[in-house]
């Protein structure tokens, strides 16, 4: 039986702040980065995962992943739902490491990277892309992946089982539709806060030409800029293309309501991260005040417990899962089940490094085996850094193509791991030398 023989972790950083790609109201100059984890096996494929950060502190994230090595090194390579449930439970259940969260921040993202690497490994061994591997599991196996601690006031294992069983008959048909037509995408590429009006208009025009029926614009800096940029985007794309706005946590309740009302004439589709991702009650107040404009959040929501409350409180109209913020595939399955229970659409967060690559699998699994619909769903697309992955995300005509390669698509090309390694890779030593 193959075993995990090492957990290798690399600090990889891309100097994106030079171009203001990824700039928003809270993150003016991110260097998109990954704490990249590889579960090495003595036989057969390795498993790849990552935690996404935006630069400084990526070394801390690396240290947190390394701290998990004792739980995985020497372990048989996981292959089944049961193995993957056991691994996740062992990692979450480390009582000493739990103090560092619990289940949030650096320690939790580290756990997510290792859990995702284990899923990559298992899917590769099964010869299936992750979405197909996961959607091939029985409802009982899927329910067995989930840690229901703290969830039972909103979702019980029996309710989850019912949901999954109801979706079971249509799985094959939906998988075939995905392979034929892909999954709806929207693009954030036009809207970074650091871009000029000309660049915004150009990219918005190009997005529509490329087949997107939804784009996203960053807001939250000066109110006048927000209005001008959204008006411009609306003029360029016309009335039928949806435009989401994203405030990246800049506002308190009253400011969020005021600012979004000022944007209302330009018909924003949702307002994303209007305030602190920890603030369920603030999102509830904002959602009530802004209805029917949707409220979305999730990329910084720490775990399933906070998602549960956002849903219980009807504080969000859109759930934005992130492949690398929470405890990996297992916790994202829990969040997808919660969203399905409350009938709220999931529109995953992507962009970053590798986030598009990974999260498309979860959106497609949701469609095939959980929610059974793409109604009101769209998966974020940001067109950069994909060239560094061996199985990059592909979007055509405004839709994500279904991945066909085995695994979870987290694997980076060897060259990227050499060139962008921090601080000693040539890209960084050359920048330093200037």
């Amino acid at each position: 039986m193959p075993r995990v023989v090492a957990l290798d972790v690399v600090d990889v950083r891309f100097p994106t702040s030079r171009e203001l790609d990824g700039s928003d109201a809270m993150n003016p100059d991110p260097d998109y980065s990954a704490a990249y984890a590889v579960l090495r096996t003595d036989e057969g494929p390795d498993g790849h995962g990552l935690a996404f950060t935006i630069g400084r502190g990526n070394d801390v994230q690396v240290a947190a992943i390394r701290a998990l090595a004792p739980h995985v090194v020497g372990r048989p390579a996981p292959t089944t739902a049961r193995d993957l449930a056991a691994l996740s439970a062992d990692l979450v259940g480390d009582s000493q490491l739990r103090w560092l969260g619990p289940e949030k921040g650096v320690a939790h993202m580290a756990l997510g990277a290792v859990v995702n690497a284990a899923w990559d490994l298992a899917a590769r061994r099964a010869g299936l892309p992750l979405w197909r591997f996961l959607a091939g599991m029985t409802p009982e196996e899927l329910v067995g992946l989930v840690d229901f601690r703290y969830l039972s006031d909103a979702l019980t294992p029996d309710e989850a089982l019912d949901l999954l069983r109801r979706a079971e008959p249509g799985r094959a048909g939906r998988a075939a539709r995905l392979e034929a037509d892909g999954y709806p995408a929207y693009t954030t590429s036009p809207g970074w806060l650091g871009y000029s009006d000309d660049k915004l208009a150009d990219l918005a025009r190009r997005a529509v030409a490329d087949g997107f029926d939804m784009i996203k614009i960053k807001v939250g800096a000066s109110p006048a800029d927000d209005v001008r940029r959204l008006r411009l985007a609306r003029e360029v794309v016309g009335p039928d293309v949806r435009i989401a706005v994203d405030a990246n946590q800049r506002w308190d309740v009253a400011t969020a309501v005021e600012r979004v009302r000022e944007l209302a004439p330009f018909d924003p589709y949702w307002v994303e991260e209007p305030t602190s991702p920890d603030d369920v009650l603030a999102h509830q107040a904002i959602a009530r005040a802004l209805h029917p404009i949707r409220v979305a959040t999730g990329e910084h929501v720490a775990n399933r417990v906070v998602f549960k409350q956002l849903l219980q409180a009807r504080a969000v109209d859109v759930v934005q899962i992130d492949a690398c913020r929470v405890g990996g595939v297992n916790e994202n399955v829990a969040i997808l089940l919660l969203a399905a229970k409350f009938g709220v659409p999931v529109c995953p967060h992507a962009g970053g490094v590798g986030l598009c690559e990974l999260v498309r699998h979860l959106a497609m699994f949701d469609f095939v085996a959980v929610s059974g619909t793409t109604e009101g769903r769209a998966l974020e697309w940001v067109d950069h850094l994909h060239e560094h992955f061996t199985d990059p995300a592909v979007v055509r005509g405004g839709r994500y193509a279904a991945p066909t390669e085995p695994g979870f698509s987290a694997r980076m090309v060897d060259r990227a791991l050499v060139d962008f390694r921090y601080p000693d890779g040539p890209v960084w030593t050359n920048l330093e030398a200037r």
Copy 2:
């Protein structure tokens, strides 16, 4: 002007798991540890702070503190409220590091350690114990310490100013009372889950003899054990000593309500951490169901935003601040102001390594300058590891003595930093050699 010339960080761990000190339903075998931070100056006193962990992962916490060095090394030694507000704002405002939280977990505790070290430094330079240094600031200076982002739906700067101004006239009298009589304490030493019934009874008896009118018992393992242990404690201490019970996050909503109702015949004073510290709505449901038994939480509450919601939702009857979980003194001032606004008593969490030493200053500041009362307040006392601090907490007759030494009392004795250094200190190499 003196400057900070280095940020030294040491991994210090105590092998407490050998004695089951500190054992509870979620933490069966903690090795109480500190990521210990020293702000070295070129002239005058250094500043000391720490993040508390329970063993594994303390190295990750050390790495997270080191990542903050660029913000402090080379900076003038902070002396004023304005300096300390600026330092906290710089650390919280690091847009790249913010991604690791935001404001939660490893990254946030690291920030808290550095902020607290800066306060230690400033109080030492002022020649005052932290509680007196802080309580000597004007209401305007105190309000200036607080980051009101995300708070304005519950507390505005003007409301905070009003609160502080109302408490201002009585400050001197209350400080004098503290120095004469100390601050009420309760003890958790009898109740660790790993202790035998005999040890529990013995320690409970001794606590009452030592003058405590409140003790705490850990619960959350088997229901029969919980009932037996609480019944025993009640028999030993009699009807007039308050007994809090602490479930350390073990339960879901329904289980919490059921279990605590089984304990009700033995008159528990509060139930602490009945469920996930992230779950505002669950605490609200539990508090409503269990009223008039109080619900308490806080030692794992990630930041002021979650405390705010617990108060807004009337989900807690007792706020348990922790000196080292959130962003240091500045954020704890925010939490004390929120609690005062909502009229909820603050009973700080202590125990751990150094937590008693630090948090007593905050409880005393609260009494002198914020809430103005000790009614319904008690500060946790756990009688171990104090010998490793240069200004250890002292409890006599069930009351904490007011500290008189300059600083925030986080400084460890040199010997402890050598002996318990992990993994290369002699205590650990000797354990390893056995």
